[in-house]
């Protein structure tokens, strides 16, 4: 039983779980960005037909959850577990959003690293035999996040160049065991390749003492470094093992720091590095400064862009590392620093 644990804090799955369905939905601004043609759906209405920002995000999650289940060809009640979270206080976007789904829920908070955390937990449940089908889901909404963490939308202020732009978007993946994947393959698409989750590396809270919540890339880069470094160590890999190493939302500032840190430890990842926050927006045209952020940033980029690239076999093995900045308005006001966390997931096709 012990052999699934590898290194200090990674798991190498003996029978890797598979992704059989996914869905990505983003808002208008994200839909105007460079990844526009990859997303499954772009919604022009920032309210998603709701009355408040919080309700909008709940509707976003509900829609993505149902569409992801549909894309896998399952019925809602067939999913054993839903692992989901968001950025709002007490996870209200998730709890109100998935209320109508008939799926048992584990609500989690990993700040913007939630997609990595939820996939880690869902695949562990599936591989451990505790579920045959599980779903990982998360979302973020620009206006809801601004309201909670920064200023009201119409308040006039200047955002620093290191600041990121919270993505309005959501992504979900349906994860199943090998047996279910085989059934799925027979029934739906015998030709298409299936993406499997071969391992995970769980991050710890890393604090390098940065207090500037408007420079989250610098807050989170040490956490991403910690996870990537331990992943490479635990599995005994060189960076060349991966076609891409993709972080969640470090942005331009965090990118430079991360590459610098890993180089210092003898790992050069610059030529295979991507950041979802950098990919999702066009910095010059869309005025997003350091890039996109939020749970939805890595979730929608994974389900929209990365999985599609992998299905085309352009990338065969990647390390997906969503990154989260652990702060609340209270912790910030009380003078705390902004620690980071990251979760690594190895995807192979």
């Amino acid at each position: 039983m012990g052999q699934k644990m590898i290194g200090k804090r990674s798991i190498q799955f003996a029978t890797p779980p598979y992704i059989v369905g996914s869905y990505s939905l983003v808002g208008k601004k994200e839909g105007e960005g460079p990844l526009s043609c990859y997303f499954d759906e772009i919604e022009e209405d920032p309210m998603f037909g709701g009355q408040t920002w919080e309700e909008a995000e709940s509707r976003l999650q509900y829609k993505v959850a149902t569409k992801a289940v549909e894309s896998a060809g399952y019925k809602e009640e067939e999913i054993r577990y839903l692992i989901a979270g968001d950025l709002l206080g007490q996870l209200i976007a998730t709890s109100f959003g998935v209320m109508d789904l008939q799926i048992p829920l584990f609500g989690i908070y990993g700040a913007c690293s939630t997609m990595g955390e939820s996939i880690s937990l869902a695949s562990t449940l599936v591989e451990g035999g505790f579920a045959d089908k599980a779903m990982a889901l998360t979302s973020s909404h620009f206006a809801g996040a601004e309201k909670q963490f920064r200023f009201p939308l119409d308040y006039g202020n200047q955002r620093p160049l290191a600041a990121t732009w919270t993505v309005t978007g959501s992504g979900a993946v349906v994860i199943v065991n090998e047996e279910e994947m085989k059934k799925h393959k027979e029934k739906h698409n015998p030709e298409e390749p299936y993406i499997r989750i071969t391992g995970i590396t769980t991050g710890k809270v890393v604090d390098f003492g940065v207090k500037d919540s408007m420079n989250m890339g610098a807050c989170m880069a040490p956490a991403a470094f910690d996870v990537i470094y331990h992943n490479l160590k635990d599995f005994g890999y060189k960076p060349e093992e991966y076609d891409k190493i993709i972080t969640g939302d470090l942005g331009y500032v965090g990118k430079d720091i991360l590459i610098d840190m890993l180089k210092e430890k003898g790992y050069d990842i610059a030529n295979r590095y991507l950041d979802c926050g950098i990919e999702i927006f066009n910095k010059e045209e869309q005025d997003t400064h350091s890039g996109g952020s939020g749970c939805g940033c890595s979730a929608a980029t994974l389900t929209g862009y990365i999985l599609k690239k992998m299905k085309k076999k352009e990338w065969k093995k990647i390390l997906f590392v969503p990154t989260g900045a652990l702060l609340s308005p209270v912790s910030f006001n009380e003078g705390n620093s902004v620690p980071g966390i990251a979760h690594g997931v190895i995807l192979e096709v």
Partner: protein, 175 residues
């Protein structure tokens, strides 16, 4: 001990990632990392920002002067005209906040939109709009001065302190 002081010396110049990662003391590492982050983080060009703030702030104040002159020309005395001027500026600022324009000007003008009274009006109108959904009492009522609250509180406090000082000086016959 000697090595430690050597590392600290390094922090005075621009620290590199090597300095950060080689630092074993967590507190010093935080300091060195913060300095490293500061060095590589891009910032707005302050001179360009000052010019933009001057332009936008100047425009707002010119409009204010124009309104003052207009009200005076309508026959109001200085004090009443100034009051009407303020009311008009605040009203316009709230209106443009609601239309979503003020935020765009502020993004360009920075302190130019913050310092005039229109900035204050914006900081009250914006939370009112945002928190309306949370109800008249707990939403608008509790949160309308979310941003402007400190200005009001400490504004009143400072005027009280200055008043006391003025009173004492007056009693002492200094002023």
């Amino acid at each position: 001990m000697q090595e430690n002081s050597k590392n600290e010396q390094n922090t005075n110049s621009k620290p590199t990632m090597k300095d950060v990662l080689n630092q074993t003391d967590p507190n010093t590492r935080q300091q060195v990392y913060n300095q490293y982050v500061k060095d590589i983080t891009p910032t707005h060009n302050w001179f360009a920002n000052v010019c933009k703030a001057f332009l936008i702030g100047g425009i707002i104040c010119t409009i204010g002067q124009g309104l003052l002159n207009l009200y005076k020309a309508m026959g109001f005395n200085e004090e009443v005209a100034a009051l009407y001027n303020i009311v008009t500026l605040v009203g316009l600022s709230a209106l443009f906040t609601g239309l979503g324009w003020y935020g765009k000007w502020a993004k360009f003008g920075g302190a130019g939109t913050l310092v005039p009274i229109t900035g204050f009006a914006n900081s009250v109108a914006a939370p009112a709009i945002e928190f309306k959904k949370e109800g008249q009492v707990f939403g608008i009522g509790c949160k309308i001065f979310n941003i402007a609250g400190p200005v009001i509180l400490y504004g009143i406090l400072i005027s009280w302190v200055l008043g006391v000082i003025y009173y004492i000086l007056l009693r002492l016959g200094i002023v």
